[in-house]
C-alpha cells in the first residue's frame, strides 16, 4: 500500500502558494473577479462547481481556440478517408467488384464522412485534455465544496504586485465568506 502512496506522492503536482477567497454565491464571485482583475492581477484563477456565466469576460478569458484544432483535424480525417479508400481499392490491390469502377467514390462517401467525424471529435477531446493539463494525480484543492456548491478565487504569490495582507483585505472586502492561505 505505502508503495502506491509513495508513487502517488511522487506524481502529485506541486501547487503554487497563494491566497484564496471562497464565496457562496456565484454572482458575487463574478463581481469580485471583475474587481480583482481591475486591481491588476493577471494569473488569478476562479474555481467553480459548474461553468458560471459572465466569469469569462469578468476575468478576461479569451474564447477557446480548440475549434481550430477540430477544423484542421476534421479536414485531415476527410483527406485521409479520400486517400485511403482510393489507394486501397484503386492502387494497392485493385479488384473487379460488382462491375463497379475501381474508385467508386459514391460508395466511399460514408467511410470518408466517418473518418472526418472521428478525427474531429477525438482531436477536440485530446486538445481539451492537453490544454487543461489533465490528467493530474491528486492535485491540491482549496476546499472540497468547490466542486459542490461554493465558489473561489485564488491569487498566486507570483502574481504581479502580490501583497498577502492587501490581498486578504481585498478579498474580505469583496464579500468572501472565507479567506485562507493555501496551495493551488
Amino acid at each position: 500500500m505505502d508503495i502506491i502512496d509513495r508513487v502517488i506522492q511522487s506524481l502529485r503536482p506541486k501547487g503554487k502558494a497563494g491566497i484564496a477567497g471562497i464565496w457562496d454565491d456565484e454572482h458575487v464571485l463574478v463581481d469580485a473577479a471583475r474587481q480583482v482583475r481591475a486591481s491588476g492581477f493577471k494569473k488569478f484563477e476562479a474555481i467553480t462547481p459548474f461553468p458560471v456565466h459572465g466569469i469569462d469576460d469578468a476575468m478576461g478569458i479569451p474564447f477557446s481556440w480548440i475549434p481550430w484544432v477540430t477544423f484542421i483535424f476534421g479536414l485531415l480525417g476527410f483527406s485521409f478517408g479520400v486517400w485511403f479508400t482510393w489507394w486501397t481499392s484503386a492502387v494497392d490491390w485493385p479488384l473487379i467488384i460488382g462491375g463497379k469502377p475501381m474508385w467508386s467514390l459514391p460508395a466511399f462517401i460514408p467511410v470518408i464522412f466517418e473518418c472526418t467525424i472521428l478525427f474531429g471529435a477525438l482531436s477536440s477531446v485530446g486538445a481539451l485534455i492537453y490544454v487543461c493539463g489533465l490528467p493530474q494525480v491528486e492535485p491540491p484543492i482549496i476546499d472540497p465544496t468547490l466542486t459542490s456548491h461554493r465558489f473561489a478565487l485564488f491569487i498566486p504569490e507570483d502574481d504581479h504586485g502580490f501583497n498577502a495582507t492587501a490581498v486578504e483585505k481585498m478579498l474580505k472586502d469583496l464579500g468572501a465568506a472565507e479567506v485562507k492561505r493555501t496551495e493551488f
Partner: protein
C-alpha cells in the same frame, strides 16, 4: 487397379529360375509380399491417407515399370494416354462400363493418384453418347460405402433363417464348404439379367458343369417386353428403339425419359429430334402419374393404369376398323382381337381419333411406347403385344424400332428361366443350393410370392451382394462381390455395342469377383471347359473369351494385343451381330387379349424414381438427397394423390395414409401431385431398404410390399387399393416450396408455330444503361447457355456437380430447414390448370454476373470477379456474413451451416483433390468448374497450343444427356457459346436487374397449338399461373 494379385503362368520377364519354374515357395513369397499391402490390413480412420499413398505408389510403379519383375500381368490402359506418362496429381481417365438395371453405360472413370473420384460418360458410346444419369454418377459412392462388407461372411442361420449372427470367413474356407455343398448337386443360380457376354458364358459353363439351372430375376424387370417380343417376333430380346428417328412419339404409361429401360439413351435421342425446327418432334404422353416424360410432353392426357391396354386397342380400333388403314385392316384374327375394345374409345377422355390420325400421318417415323412398373398390370404382356402390332401397323418396325437391343435372354442365356420357375422348383424341393447374384429378391419380390417360405426348403444359400441386406441376411454365405470399379468385365448395352469394364482401383476390402468364385468352384470340381482350366483368374477367362468370341470377326488386321489395347483405350467397340434385320409380326400373338376388370376404387401404380431406381444404391447419400425431378421431394417416398382425390379425402400434404392391397398394407405420407390422374395412387419403389446401411436406414417404405404375385408374374399397377387417412403427419424434405412462376418472366415458353415465325418473340427484353464504363475482358470470358428446350429436368447435372465439387449431403432434417448444398439446382414450375398442368424446368447454376450483386456487398472481398469474367469465391477470405447470399437475386449461394467436412472413411477417398473442402461458416457456390478451366489452360500452355472451343467442359455440361448446356469463351466469336449468345431465342434471366449474367437461357418450345399457362405477360404479377400446391 489390381495388378499384382495374380502371377501369370509364365511371366515374360523373370527374376530368378525359381520364378521361371513357377516355384510354389517363390509364388507364396511373392504373393504374401503383396498380401500385406496397405489395403488388406484392418482399416482405421486415420490410416487411409497414408495407405492411399502407398497403394498409389505401388500402382503407379507397377504401371510405369515395364521390364521390372512387378510388371503387371494385366495391363489396363489409360484412356488416350500412355501409362508411361502417369504423374502424381494428374488425373487419368480409364474407359470402363457400368450397368444399372438394364441400362448399360460406357464410362470414363477419373482416377487421381490411383483412386477413382468421378464417373463420366464415354462420348464414344453410341447409346448415351457421353450423357450420364444421376445414378451412374453416384455409383462411385457405393465403392467407398462404409457399410459394405469388408470380407466374405458366414451367416449362422437357424432353420427359420431368422438368426442374425454373422462372422467373417476366409475365402479358402468358404470355397471348401461351398464346393462340398455343390458336390451334392441340386444347384440353382439366380442372377439378374446378365448384360456381360463373358459372364453369361461363364454362368452357362457353371450351370452345365453342375447341371444346375439358371434363373433370371430383376428387381425391376422387363419380362413382359421380352415375352411380347418372343411371341410377336420369336426373339427373346429387347428391341432397339430409335427415338431420334421418330417425329411423333406416343408414350402410353411409359416413362422412357425417366426410368424405363435405357432412359439416358432415350433422352439423348429425344433431344436430337427436339431442336426447334419444322422437323421438331412431338411428344404425346398418356399416363396415370406425373412422370419426367409427362412433364416434357407437348400434349398430355391422364388415364388409370388399368386403361393402358385400352388406349392401345382403341388406337388400333380407330386405325384398323374405323379408318381401315394398313394391310392389317383385313386380318380377321387381328380384327377379332380388337373387336372387344370397340367401346374403349368412348370411356377414355382422350382424343383417340386425333392421335390415331397424327400417328398415321407420321407412319414410319412415329413411335409408340408402353410399359414399365406403372403399366405392370395383369395384362402387361398383352400391352406389349398390342404395342408391337400398333407399331407394325404404323410401319415403324425396322425404322424407329429395330431388333437386337440388348440381347437379353438371347442365345447366350438360352435355357434360363424366370422367377416363377424358380419358385416352383423350390417348392418341389428340386433345389438344395441356391446362388443369388446381382438381384435382391427378398426386397423386391411380392410377399404373396411366398419366396421366403420357399427358401425354407434350401440347405445353403450363397449370396454375392456386397452387404447383409434383405437377401444377404437370409443367405448362409455372403461371398462379397467386388464393386464394378474393382472388377473386370464387359457389357453389351445394345446388340453389337460392346464395352469393356476395367478395374480402376485395387479392391478396397477382402472381396472377390463373383466370376472368380464360379471359376474356383468349377476348378475345384474339375468341371468346365478348357478355358476354365487355363484361366487362373476371371481376367484370363474374360480375355480369352474376347480373343475367341469377338476378336476373329472384328480383328481388322490387328493382332489381338493391339485389338485388346485398343479396346481398353477406347472402351467401346461395335461388333457385327445378327439382328437389326426387319422382322415380321406374328399376329396370332394378339389372340385372347382382353380388357382388364374396371376398378371402382383407387388404383395403385408403383413406379421407380430417377433418383433411386431399384434401390440398389439406396445407401448413397447423394441420391437420397437428389430432389425428385417432378415433386422436388427427397429423403422420402410417398403416396401421391391427384388434387381432386386429395380434396375428397380431405388430405393435407404429408398426412399419413394407410394403403391396403389385399392382405398387405403400408402406412405412407401422402403427397398431392398436380397432373396425376384421379383415382390413382402413385408409390415409388427403391425406398424402405433394410440392412442397406446407415444412410438408407428408415428412409421411406418398401413399396414392393404392396405388389402382388398373380399367374406367375409380379403385378405392380392397377392394384385395387383401400385408403384410410391417418392422423399422423410427415414433413417432406422438399427443395422447392412454391410451384408457380407468379407470372414472372422466368422460363419463357413458345409454341413451335410462334417460334418459327419469330424466335424469342415471347421474351420481354429490357434496354439497360450503365452509369460508368464497364470493365473490359480481353482474354477469355467464360459464358454458358442453357437450352431450356432440350433440357428435360432429369437432374443428372446436379449429381455430376456434387461429385465433381465435393458437395456434401446434409440429410432430411436440414433439407427441411433449407440447408441443401447443391451448386446447380433444377427449378420446376407448373403452368396452367393444376389438375393437368404444364411443366417447365430450369437448371440454375451461379450466373457469374458481370455486375454481381454478391461482390458489391461482401465486406472482405471474398467474392470478386476474375479477369476471365467468372465470379470467384475465395473460401479462406470468407467470414460468412451471408450478405452475398441475401443479395443474390438467383439465390444460388450455399452456406456451410455446420462443419460438413467430416466424412466417414473411406468416403473421403471419393473427394476430388482439385476442389477445396469448405469449412463451417463459409459461403460456396458454382465456380464454372474453374479447376477444369485452369487444367485445360495450363495443358494448352504446356503443349504450346491455343485453347480450342469445347476443350473446357463443366461437369454439368459433360453429364447432360441432352447436351442442353453450352459452355465456352464468349470472346471467341466462333465458339458455340458466343454463337448461342447471339441467337434470338436466347434471353437473360431477370435482365431488368442489370446484373449482366454470363449464363443465358434459350426459350422452351412446345410443339402444340397453345401453351398451358398461356404466354406469361411480364410485369403482371397477379396473373394466376397454376397454384401454390
Amino acid at each position: 487397379m489390381d495388378i499384382t494379385e495374380q502371377t501369370p503362368p509364365t511371366p515374360k520377364y523373370w527374376m530368378s529360375l525359381e520364378q521361371w519354374r513357377q516355384d510354389p515357395d517363390f509364388k507364396k513369397f511373392a504373393e504374401s509380399e503383396f498380401r500385406t499391402s496397405p489395403m488388406q490390413e484392418g482399416d482405421s480412420e486415420d490410416g487411409w491417407a497414408r495407405r492411399e499413398f502407398l497403394k498409389l505408389m505401388g500402382a503407379s510403379l507397377a504401371l510405369t515399370s515395364f521390364g521390372c519383375v512387378r510388371r503387371p500381368a494385366q495391363k489396363i490402359i489409360p484412356y488416350a494416354k500412355q501409362p508411361a506418362h502417369l504423374v502424381h496429381g494428374i488425373a487419368d481417365h480409364y474407359a470402363s462400363s457400368y450397368v444399372d438395371g438394364l441400362e448399360g453405360f460406357g464410362v470414363l472413370i477419373t482416377t487421381r493418384d490411383g483412386r477413382p473420384i468421378k464417373v463420366e460418360g464415354n462420348p464414344d458410346h453410341p447409346g448415351h453418347e457421353g450423357g450420364m444419369s444421376a445414378r451412374a454418377h453416384a455409383h462411385i459412392l457405393r465403392l467407398y460405402d462404409p457399410d459394405r462388407n469388408t470380407s466374405a461372411k458366414r451367416n449362422l442361420q437357424n432353420d427359420k433363417r431368422t438368426n442374425r449372427e454373422t462372422i467373417g470367413i476366409a475365402w479358402e474356407k468358404l470355397d471348401e464348404e461351398v464346393s462340398a455343398q455343390l458336390k451334392k448337386g441340386k444347384v440353382a443360380v439366380l442372377t439378374n439379367t446378365l448384360m456381360s457376354p463373358s459372364t453369361r458364358k461363364l454362368v452357362n459353363e457353371f450351370t452345365t458343369g453342375f447341371s444346375a439351372k439358371h434363373y433370371v430375376y430383376d428387381d425391376i424387370g422387363f419380362e413382359s417386353i421380352i415375352e411380347g417380343q418372343q411371341r410377336a417376333y420369336g426373339q427373346a430380346s429387347l428391341p432397339r428403339l430409335r427415338v431420334d428417328r421418330a417425329r411423333y412419339i406416343l408414350s402410353v404409361n411409359c416413362d422412357f425419359l425417366g426410368t424405363w429401360l435405357t432412359p439416358t439413351t432415350f433422352q439423348r435421342q429425344f433431344a436430337k429430334g427436339r431442336k426447334a425446327s419444322a422437323e421438331m418432334n412431338k411428344l404425346v404422353v398418356v399416363e396415370p402419374l406425373m412422370t419426367l416424360t409427362g412433364s416434357n410432353a407437348d400434349e398430355r392426357h391422364r388415364i388409370r393404369p388399368s386403361q393402358t391396354l385400352d388406349v392401345l386397342m382403341a388406337l388400333l380400333h380407330e386405325l384398323l376398323v374405323v379408318k381401315k388403314h394398313s394391310s392389317y385392316a383385313s386380318n380377321s384374327g387381328v380384327l377379332q382381337a380388337i373387336a372387344p375394345f370397340s367401346k374403349s374409345k368412348t370411356d377414355l377422355a382422350i382424343p383417340v381419333a386425333e392421335i390415331a390420325q397424327s400417328l398415321w400421318n407420321n407412319r414410319g417415323q412415329s413411335l409408340v411406347l408402353a410399359g414399365g412398373l406403372s403399366a405392370g398390370t395383369e395384362n402387361s404382356a398383352a400391352i406389349q403385344m398390342a404395342l408391337n402390332l400398333l407399331n407394325s401397323v404404323l410401319e415403324n418396325e425396322g425404322k424407329t424400332i429395330e431388333a437386337g437391343g440388348a440381347a437379353v435372354l438371347g442365345s447366350a442365356q438360352a435355357g434360363a428361366a424366370g422367377f416363377n420357375e424358380l419358385l416352383n422348383a423350390l417348392n418341389k424341393k428340386e433345389v438344395t443350393t441356391l446362388i443369388i447374384h446381382g438381384c435382391n429378391p427378398m426386397y423386391s419380390a411380392p410377399r404373396t410370392a411366398k419366396f421366403v417360405e420357399a427358401l425354407g426348403n434350401l440347405e445353403v444359400i450363397i449370396y454375392t451382394g456386397d452387404r447383409n441386406d434383405e437377401t444377404g441376411r437370409l443367405a448362409d454365405y455372403v461371398a462379397t462381390d467386388h464393386h464394378s470399379m474393382e472388377n473386370w468385365g464387359d457389357l453389351e448395352a445394345f446388340g453389337g455395342v460392346l464395352s469393356i469394364q476395367q478395374p480402376t482401383i485395387r479392391p478396397l476390402h477382402d472381396t472377390r469377383a463373383f466370376q472368380d468364385g464360379l471359376l474356383n468352384w468349377l476348378r475345384a470340381a474339375e468341371k468346365g471347359s478348357a478355358r476354365v482350366k487355363n484361366s487362373a483368374t476371371w481376367y484370363d477367362y474374360l480375355r480369352s473369351n474376347w480373343q475367341e468370341e469377338f476378336y476373329p470377326a472384328n480383328r481388322g488386321g490387328k493382332s489381338f494385343e493391339e485389338f485388346w489395347t485398343d479396346l481398353l483405350q477406347k472402351g467401346v467397340v461395335q461388333v457385327s451381330r445378327s439382328g437389326g434385320a426387319s422382322r415380321s409380326l406374328a399376329t396370332a400373338s394378339l389372340s385372347g387379349v382382353k380388357s382388364s376388370a374396371r376398378n371402382s376404387g383407387f388404383e395403385l401404380a408403383l413406379y421407380s424414381t430417377v433418383g433411386l431406381g431399384d434401390g440398389q444404391l439406396a445407401n448413397v447419400s447423394w441420391l437420397q438427397e437428389f430432389p425428385d425431378p417432378v415433386s422436388k421431394i427427397c429423403w422420402d417416398n410417398y403416396a401421391s394423390f391427384s388434387l381432386k382425390d386429395a380434396k375428397q379425402l380431405n388430405l393435407k400434404e404429408g398426412q399419413f395414409v394407410k394403403l391396403m392391397v389385399g392382405e398387405s398394407s403400408l402406412e405412407v405420407p401422402a403427397h398431392i401431385q398436380p397432373g396425376q390422374a384421379d383415382g390413382v395412387i402413385g408409390l415409388a419403389v427403391g425406398y424402405g431398404r433394410e440392412g442397406a446401411g446407415e444412410i438408407a436406414k428408415g428412409v421411406g417404405v418398401n413399396a414392393f410390399a404392396l405388389s402382388q404375385w398373380k399367374g406367375g408374374e409380379r403385378i405392380t399397377a392397377g392394384l385395387e387399393t383401400k385408403v384410410t387417412v391417418l392422423a399422423r403427419n410427415n414433413t417432406f424434405a422438399c427443395t422447392q416450396d412454391h410451384h408457380s412462376m407468379e407470372g414472372r418472366q422466368i422460363v419463357v415458353e413458345e409454341t413451335l408455330k410462334d417460334h418459327l415465325k419469330n424466335p424469342g418473340g415471347q421474351v420481354h427484353r429490357h434496354k439497360m444503361t450503365t452509369m460508368w464504363a464497364e470493365h473490359k475482358y480481353t482474354g477469355n470470358k467464360w459464358g454458358m447457355v442453357i437450352d431450356l428446350n432440350t433440357c428435360n429436368g432429369c437432374g443428372a447435372c446436379v449429381i455430376a456437380c456434387q461429385s465433381e465439387n465435393n458437395i456434401p449431403a446434409v440429410g432430411k432434417k436440414y433439407v427441411i430447414s433449407g440447408r441443401e448444398m447443391h451448386w446447380i439446382r433444377v427449378d420446376r414450375y407448373y403452368t396452367g390448370d393444376p389438375e393437368n398442368p404444364g411443366v417447365v424446368n430450369q437448371p440454375l447454376p451461379c450466373m457469374h454476373c458481370d455486375n454481381a450483386p454478391c461482390e458489391t456487398v461482401c465486406p472482405v472481398a471474398a467474392t470478386v470477379h476474375s479477369d476471365e469474367g467468372t465470379n470467384d469465391m475465395i473460401y479462406n477470405r470468407c467470414v460468412g456474413t451471408r450478405y452475398c447470399a441475401n443479395n443474390c437475386p438467383y439465390k444460388v449461394r450455399r452456406f456451410n451451416w455446420f462443419n460438413y467436412t467430416q466424412l466417414k472413411a473411406p468416403l473421403n477417398l471419393a473427394l476430388n483433390p482439385e476442389v477445396t473442402q469448405r469449412f463451417r461458416g463459409v459461403m460456396e457456390k458454382c465456380t464454372f468448374c474453374i479447376h477444369r478451366i485452369r487444367d485445360k489452360k495450363s495443358n494448352a500452355k504446356l503443349l504450346d497450343q491455343a485453347l480450342k472451343d469445347g476443350d473446357v467442359k463443366t461437369a454439368c455440361q459433360q453429364s447432360c444427356p441432352t447436351q442442353a448446356i453450352t459452355f465456352g469463351d464468349v470472346n471467341n466469336a466462333n465458339s458455340a457459346v458466343a454463337k448461342a449468345y447471339q441467337q434470338p431465342q436466347s434471353y437473360i434471366l431477370l435482365e431488368e436487374l442489370n446484373t449482366k449474367p454470363a449464363v443465358r437461357y434459350q426459350v422452351k418450345v412446345r410443339n402444340t397449338a397453345e401453351l398451358k399457362g398461356g404466354s406469361p405477360h411480364h410485369g403482371d404479377s397477379h396473373q394466376k399461373e397454376g397454384q401454390h400446391v
